[in-house]
Symmetry: C2
Subunit: 353 residues, 2 copies
């Protein structure tokens, strides 16, 4: 059996016994019932995911999946394609948004070259870049499929293998992305999977003006009509309008779920990947934690489809894993509530009348 199928088959749901044990303790902590709201919901999930009332989330890794997009030739982004490589250099040098927010959260940052249109070998020091390059960028899906079905499967498996490789040093995964043009690919995926009009899920990306946004919508409408991806077949969607880094994210989510590790889903791009993972293995959704609500309007549609309420709304629209990094502090807080607070009995505090 292929790695992809084996992984999908091995994903089962959260551990209900640990969830129930965590619930029992949380119900008795010294405060009005459930007064730390969403962090307590999160604590339940973490117990269920890790199969323990003392889940560990100490070792945190943000995995920035990087890839380029042929669709940039159709003029859908403000930034030139070279920026993907330049930003990866920024990640390795520790000076980008994800680096500073990951440092604040005590998380490592790893870059996975899923399909950057440039040579990253000179940049890779200390194993900060994992080489899983499928091809130097996707094809322009305004003119035909972004990649072959075989490439899509290999990219998903590369994401799974990245999860497996990093699992030894990671309790808590966070997704991230880098790829000029990837809001276009994500919009096409979300429109297809959620069966929504393109115009409802496309937004300004890195900062398009009204005319440029109109152009982006037109390009994507034509591309979807041309490729006609099958909403019931996530690998078809991925190969026709996806991206290598988005496939990598989907694979990473599947890999984490199979390993029973929590994975924080960053913003719009990551959620497009998570949506594909959720279609390939519905139980994988039980391992996903939605970090934040992005400014990109397609994000809400994707989150709603996944049944996820994001933890934060900070008007981010950067990607890179920045929302996941900020959310890691909340995950740590949730675990601390479950494992470090006293119960009414333990602390001899009077209960409600």
């Amino acid at each position: 059996m292929s790695l992809l199928n084996k992984t999908i088959d091995s994903i089962s749901g959260q551990d209900e016994t640990s969830r129930a044990q965590a619930k029992e303790r949380l119900d008795q902590l010294i405060m009005p019932h459930w007064a730390l709201g969403r962090l307590m919901d999160l604590a339940l999930d973490l117990a269920g995911i890790c199969g323990s009332v003392r889940p560990s989330v100490k070792r945190k890794t943000i995995i920035v999946m990087a890839g380029d997009h042929g669709i940039t030739d159709a003029g859908v982004s403000l930034f030139p394609k070279e920026v993907t490589v330049e930003m990866v250099r920024g990640f390795v040098n520790g000076v980008a948004g994800i680096n500073v927010l990951a440092r604040q959260a005590g998380a490592d940052v790893k870059v996975v070259d899923m399909g950057v249109a440039g040579d990253l070998s000179a940049l890779s020091v200390n194993g900060d870049i994992l080489d899983r390059k499928i091809a130097p960028g996707t094809n322009n899906f305004a003119e035909g499929p972004a990649m072959s079905r075989d490439q899509a499967i290999r990219a998903l498996e590369a994401g799974i293998s990245a999860a497996q490789e990093l699992a030894d040093s990671t309790d808590l995964f966070g997704t991230g992305d880098m790829g000029i043009g990837n809001t276009s690919s994500s919009s096409a995926i979300v429109a297809t999977i959620c069966q929504l009009p393109v115009a409802d899920v496309v937004d300004r990306g890195t900062g398009l003006d009204d005319a440029q946004l109109k152009h982006k919508i037109k390009v994507l409408e034509k591309a979807l009509a041309l490729n006609n991806p099958d909403p019931a077949d996530p690998i078809d969607v991925l190969s026709k309008v996806g991206g290598f880094e988005i496939a990598g994210i989907a694979g990473l989510v599947l890999g984490a779920a199979a390993l029973k590790k929590p994975i924080i889903i960053d913003g719009f791009i990551s959620t497009a990947g998570a949506l594909l993972a959720g279609r390939l293995a519905p139980k994988s959704k039980e391992y996903m934690i939605a970090a934040h609500r992005s400014v990109e309007k397609g994000h809400v549609a994707a989150l709603t489809d996944l049944g996820k309420e994001p933890l934060l709304d900070l008007q981010f629209r950067l990607g890179e894993g920045t929302g996941a990094a900020v959310a890691m502090n909340l995950i740590e807080g949730a675990v601390a509530i479950l494992t470090e607070m006293a119960t009414f009995n333990e602390a001899a505090v009077s209960e409600a009348n």
Copy 2:
């Protein structure tokens, strides 16, 4: 001149030069313009508050103002008054909600006894409890004023002096509260200051049912009619329907603003205190950062009056400073963005077309 008047007179607004310098740098960081949204707005505020493009927020302290309320005799809370002392013991022992969330955020917790109805001297070790007790609990304001005008002023000044005492070891303040019955006092303050019907700002506190909530509203309506506090005179409001710990919070905010230090306002109780501080010294609002949106419905009215949009919405309704503790991670992230990210020039990244 009194400490209160001297402090109020010394509060001036944010430093506009540092704000402008921070804006210039933030505009050039390697990402789409302002793509880290609210954390960048926050970075501007921190530069303006601290008067520096390299604001320091390393040393963080949550100050839990504690006091009891005579209004509990009117049956407005589920928990008995003894819980205030019991919870302070929990704070000193490090096992309450605020302790675990403050630890996660790397913050110290200090308790200030503003007016607990019990002897805390045996609990105070390592200077964890500052003694500023005005009286052992307020009077029942269902039957007359909660405290004298002189006590209200002394309580405000005790809060200012706590800020001054802790300023040497604190870059970033967070407010917190403990006091059974204090949602009743806070509701009365917010209803008066914002000139709203009591029923619009009262909620379930530690968990009242429908009948108990109805009773709480009736008690507060009668108490406000009896005391008739003057909305234009914050000290009159405080003395008639306030609490010692709420006065302490108001004083703490004034003290922090006078010292030009950022202060994170926790939930409903803290915001009632901040509202009074904002009426006493409108410029103090420029030093306040709203942590989160509490479940208590009066909180939104108070935040709106202050012109503050909270950073988080995690369905908290605990107080103690728990929301402020979680928000401290966001403050650190904002400073990291301002001080650690590279500009397009520094990192040689191509700009938008």
